[in-house]
Structures are given as C-alpha cells and as structure tokens.
C-alpha cells in the first residue's frame, strides 16, 4: 500500500481530483441531455417580470390545469415561444394573437373544448357541449349582440391559474360558485343597466341550501348553477320552477302534481314552489308555514273560515299531534336511557316515528288529508309503542331500585349479625 502511495506521489497522480473532474463532466453531459428534450418557452421569461395585467408568474401558471396538461402560452396566444427575440416570438407571422378579445374568448376555448377527439386525450368524461350551451345562455346571446359586460369563460373559470372544478380553490368549485356569480350579480352598479335584482346572493347566503353546502359541506346541495345551469345560464322561467326543484325534491314534486294547487297556480301564472318557499332565500320550512301566524303562507291567498282554511287547520293539527307524540315518547325514553336502561330499540323506533313525520310533511304537498293521515297514523302507532317501551323501562328501573333497597337492608342485617357474633365470640 505504501509503495503504491509513493508511486502515485512521484508521478503527481491525484486520484481524488481525477474522480471529481470525471464526475463534473458526467453531470454536464447529463444536464445537456435532459435539457435537449425540453420545449423552450421564453414567454414567461419576460411576463413573469411584468406588472399586471401583462404579468404571469411561473408559480401562478404552474397551478393552471392547462399548463399541467402540457399546454403553453402559445396554445392560446400563438407566437413562437422558442425564440429569445421578442419581435420574432410575438410576430403575426408566427401566428401571435396578442391579448384575446373578450368576444373571441368563448370560441377560442371552444376550439379545444368542443372537440371530443382532442378532449378525450386528457379527460374522456369531460363534456364538450359547453360552447353550444353558452350560445343558448343569456350571457352568450348578449355577447353575440355586442354586450361585452356579460360573463365569458375566463370570468368564471379564471385565467392563467385555472383549476379543475373539483379543486376546492377553483372559482367554479361548488362551494365557490355563488361567490363567483356574485362578483357581477351582487354588484348593483355593474348590473344597473340590466334591471334585474342584485340581492340574490344576500338571500342565498341565509338559505338552507347555502348552509348545507358551506356549513355541512354537502357538495350535492344546490348553488346558483344547480338551478340556473352553468354554461347555458338562464332564468328557470315561471312554468319550469317545479321542474328545477323536483330534480332533488322528487317526492314533494310528485305530491304537488296531485294537488289542487298545481292547476290553480298554473291558471294564475304563479311560479309553483316559489309561491310558498321563495327562491334564493329558502329557509328550513317549519309547520308554522301552515299556520295563520306571520310565518304562515296559506292565508296570503285563502280566506279565513273557507273550506281550504278548514283543511289547512286539519292538516296542521295532524302534524302537531304526531310531533307532540314523538316529543312525549322522546322525553320518557331519554329519561330511561339516562337511568342506564337498555332502550336502544325504542330509540331506533323514535327515528322511525320521526321518519313518518318527515314523510307526512312531504305528503302535505298533496294537500289531501287522507294521504297525510296514512303517514300520521303510522307515526302515531310507532310513537305510542316507544312511549310504552320507555314507560316499561322506567317501571323496571323503579323495580330495580326497590330490589336494591331490599337487598341492602338484607346486607345490613347480615353485617349487623356478623358484628354481634364477632363481639360475642371475642367477649
């Protein structure tokens, strides 16, 4: 070993230094090979340093789903992104389009998104009818006649950092849709010339649908696009309101179809569900809607004391009867449960009784006493059974405590006997 070391020194050989040089050369070759395969995109070199509205940072663009799918600036804006010379890169000769005119945006997006063969490469389940739908929408129609204030693709979907709708940060994620629409529709100044209300978002924000979507995180709860459509955005129209609501509230719609209100509302050109429930500001309905108080809706049209008012009172009374029966059974069953009694069957039964009440509240939309009574009677029967089970559990609890008292007296007597016996044998 020592001989080899001396020989290396004498010949001025430095093995460690040589290894470093070979490694560095290899790294350079590897980096060159890797760089060779990449497409050059010089756009961001300048635009990442420019202020808004021309600035697009590398970080922002990397979030864009198009960039992630391999599309570049040139895919929309044209030009030659491989050239370092700005004049060549942004020359009309190279197909550069510059800033896309608002009127052209839907057609530009549609050039890819309406091509099923092209879209299939990235996402086979993505629809390709957006542009066609957009042309049927109020937005699309107004754009066609030159109104550039209406929404185009980029207004809702954003641009340069466009995310998939399933991404919670996307402006068109179900949770964010209402805020996105509200950017224009809640702006009274912006909407002034259209003569439509701008309180939809404020009303929707206090609605049961908004609460379900944002508080309970139920992504199936409706937002603006659920009722109005998205790309084909249009007001539902008076004669179609129940068709929109019935997409989710199927049973209520079936009952409403059988009710006398259906024909009466149609004859009076009244907007179905909206008459009683309103539209954007729908709050959780209570039985008070059937009442004659401030929350009641029937007496807005009906006359006190008429046959319909009598029917209303009968329906309300049926609902109240079942509600009270459930509450009474609940009280007894919960007291029994808190006493440690096994009443899980009765508790499960209470859920069934509550289901009957919910069903009756749905059947109310038929406004037929006989139909409602079927659900009410079923619920009353279950609630009565549960009440009985709760009472039996309480009787059993009292028996147990009586048994305990007697047993403790017996134990006490034995203890006293033992104590006396000990005293006797020890004396």
């Amino acid at each position: 070993m020592a001989i080899l070391r001396n020989k290396l020194r004498r010949n001025k050989l430095r093995p460690f230094g040589a290894a470093c040089y070979v490694g560095l050369a290899g790294f350079v070759v590897l980096a060159a090979c890797l760089g060779y395969g990449q497409t050059k995109n010089t756009c961001l070199d300048c635009h990442s340093a420019l202020p808004d509205p021309l600035g697009v940072s590398q970080e922002k663009f990397s979030q864009d789903i198009h960039a992630q799918m391999g599309l570049t600036c040139a895919s929309c804006h044209g030009g030659d992104p491989t050239s370092d010379d700005p004049d060549k890169a942004m020359s009309r000769k190279a197909g550069w389009k510059g800033k896309i005119d608002r009127k052209q945006i839907p057609d530009l997006c549609g050039s890819c998104h309406s091509d099923p063969a092209y879209i299939r490469q990235f996402n086979p389940s993505l629809r390709t009818d957006q542009l066609g739908q957009y042309h049927t929408s109020v937005h699309g129609k107004r754009l066609a006649v030159g109104d550039t204030k209406v929404a185009v693709c980029t207004d809702c979907h954003s641009v340069h950092d466009l995310r998939a709708p399933s991404d919670p940060r996307s402006t068109v994620n179900p949770v964010n849709v209402a805020n996105t629409c509200a950017r224009c529709h809640a702006d009274a100044g912006y909407m002034k010339e259209y003569s439509i209300p701008t309180d939809q978002f404020a009303k929707y924000s206090i609605s049961v649908h908004h609460e379900a979507l944002t508080v309970r995180g139920d992504l199936s709860a409706p937002t603006c696009t659920t009722c109005h459509g998205n790309h084909g955005a249009a007001p539902p129209g008076v004669d179609r309101v129940e068709n929109v609501c019935s997409n989710c509230h199927t049973f209520q719609a079936q009952m409403y179809e059988r009710s006398s209100h259906k024909k009466a509302f149609e004859a009076a050109s009244l907007p179905g569900c909206v008459v009683c429930h309103s539209n954007h500001g729908i709050v959780l309905p209570t039985d008070a809607k059937l009442g004659a108080g401030p929350e009641g809706v029937c007496m807005r049209c009906h006359t006190p004391g008429d046959s319909c008012d009598q029917a209303r009172i009968a329906l309300l009374s049926s609902l109240n009867r079942l509600d009270e029966a459930i509450k009474s059974a609940d009280h007894v069953v919960h007291v029994a449960e808190s006493s440690g009694m096994e009443v899980s069957e009765a508790l499960l039964g209470q859920d069934q009784a509550r289901d009957s009440l919910t069903k009756a509240r749905v059947t109310i939309h038929s406004f037929r006493q006989a139909l409602v009574d079927q659900d009410i009677q079923a619920g009353l029967k279950i609630a009565a059974k549960n009440l009985q089970a709760g009472k039996a559990a309480m009787v059993e609890r009292n028996h147990r405590r009586l048994g305990l008292g007697i047993s403790l007296i017996a134990v006490g007597i034995v203890l006293a006997g033992l104590w006396l016996y000990i005293k006797k044998i020890e004396s």
Binding site: R400, R401, S407, V411, I425
Partner: protein, 361 residues
Amino acid sequence: MSPLRDVRNWLDERIGWDDLVAPLRKKTVPLHRLSYWYFLGGITLFLFGIQMVTGILLLLYYRPGASEAFESVQYIMTQVQFGWLIRSIHSWSANLMIFTAFAHMFSVLFLKAYRKPRELTWISGVILLFLVMGFGFSGYLLPWNTLAFFATKVGTEITGQVPIVGKPMMIFLRGGEEVTGATLTRFFGFHVAVLPGLTTVLILLHLLLVQRLGISVPPKLELQWTANPSAKREMKFFPNFMLREMMAWYVALGVLGALAAVFPWNLGVKADPFVPAPAGIKPEWYFLFMFQTLKLIPSKVWFIDGDILGVLAFGLAGLLWVLLPFFESDQPSHTKGWITGFAVFALAYMAGMSVYGYLAK
C-alpha cells in the same frame, strides 16, 4: 350429634380433614393500627369469585362472533331474566377488582410486605395484577361495541410498537392485520380459557405462599415486637379475621349491587369497522396513565421513535416493578426509603396521568 359434625367426621376418616384445616386454626393475623389493609387481598379474591360466577352465567347466552356478539349481549340485557344485573355486576366487579388489586399492591408496597422471604408472593401478585388487566383488556372487546372496537384497535397498535416482536405479537393478538371477528373469538378464548387457567394457578400459589409465610408486619412494628415480645398482638385467622373479612365482602357486595342497579353498564352502539373512530377515544381508566404518557411523548426523542421509547420504558418499568423486592434489604432496621419514595412517585404519577388523560380532549 349434628349433621355437620357427621359430615366432618366422615371427611376426617377418609382424607384427614382435621389435619388439613389445622394450619388454618393455628394461623394468626397481626393486630395493629394498619391491619385493615389486610382485607384488600381478600376483597380482590372475593371479586374474582364474583367474576367467575357471573362470567359462567353470561357464557350461557353470550355468542362470540362479529355478527352475533353485540346482539347476544343486548339479548342478555333486555330479554334474559336478571341478565342486566349479571352483566352489570360482571362489568362493575371487573373494575372494582382491578382497583382493589392496585390498592392491595400499593398497601403491600407501603407496608413493605414484599421483603425477604416474601419475594415470590410479590412476584406472583404483580403477575396476577397484569393478568387481571389482561382480563380487562380482552373482556372489554367482547360486547363488540364501537368504543371497545376502537380501544382494542389502539391498544393492539401500541403492542405493535414493541421492537422486533411487536408486529408478530400484534398479528397474533388480532388474528390478522386488522381488528376483525377473528380478534373477537381470539380475545374470547383468552378471556374465558387462557387467563382464568393461569390466574387460578397463580392465585393458588399466591395463597399457598401467604399461608406458608404468614402475614407480614411493618418493619418498625417488627422491631418493636422483637424487642418487646409481650407487646405483640394477634388475632386468630379463623374465625375472628375471617368473620371480619366476610363483613368486608358483604360491603363489597352491597356496593356492587348499588352500582349495578343505579348505574347499569352501558352497551353502546354496535361496532362498525367502516366508520371513523369516535373523536377523543380513550381506553379504560386502568390503562389511561399509559395512554396519556404515550400521547405526551414527542414523535421523535433524539433518533428513537417516541412510541417505541414509551412502550420500552413501560416494559422496563414493569420488569423493575416485578423485581422490586430484590432491591430491598431483608433487615427491618435497614429498609430503603427510596423504594417508598419511588412508590409514592409511581402512585402520584399514575393517578395524575389518569386524571389528566380523563380531562384531556
């Protein structure tokens, strides 16, 4: 001649009954101001007896298996005559037994009853406590409710943290990678066959050693009585101490009955392996101090995984606890105060961590 005496004579002629019970007649119990601590071992034994009887009664209706266990316990509690009482007494008695076993162990520790020649009594007693905790762990799963399911999942996961043997041990306990019906039948087997067999043998050994070595006296008193034998005070084990012990058993029976009648043991909701674990899930109170400690240990301590460190620390502490008598002097005049200090620390730590664990979210 009374029938009882006839039976006794009959037994004496055949198996020498009088010779067999002679040691019991001669056996005495030291009488001093701390004598009442001697009742704790007997109460624990009485509660074990209750467990045996109520456990056998529950066995008549209990069906092990993920699809039947919960329903069978529900049936016991709602349909079987006095089934609720038997199950509640079994559950409450299990908890009381673990409590009295702990109390008995600490009383032995503070009265220094573990000293030579009672090392084996201590060792068998500590192993008995571990077995009793094993009863608690295995029995907790048997009703197959949500809390039991997830507590077993967490508990067996902790076992899996033991280096080298942890993972195979966890799979052995679970009967697979996950807590399933196989775990339930396995725990049932441990609970009704393996643990009772081991415990019965160890209890017999423990009682034999107590009988053979007599009851210990605190070192200070031992010195006083050695210096002045006339000051020594004793009570006959039979019938004087036994009658008092019976009084303690009756009190325990009354307490058990009251707890079972006023606070019947809850059944909970049937376990569903596909739902997420309930928030803030905790083990039974006797495992809480270990659980809370493991929660407080950082995920990495230097280069060692926090959980592994915690499990190893508890394993080492358990081993040292078993071997505790070998660190003590066998001379009453040379007893080591640090052992008492260590016992006070251990008791305070266990109590403090349990309370912290109970209150922590």
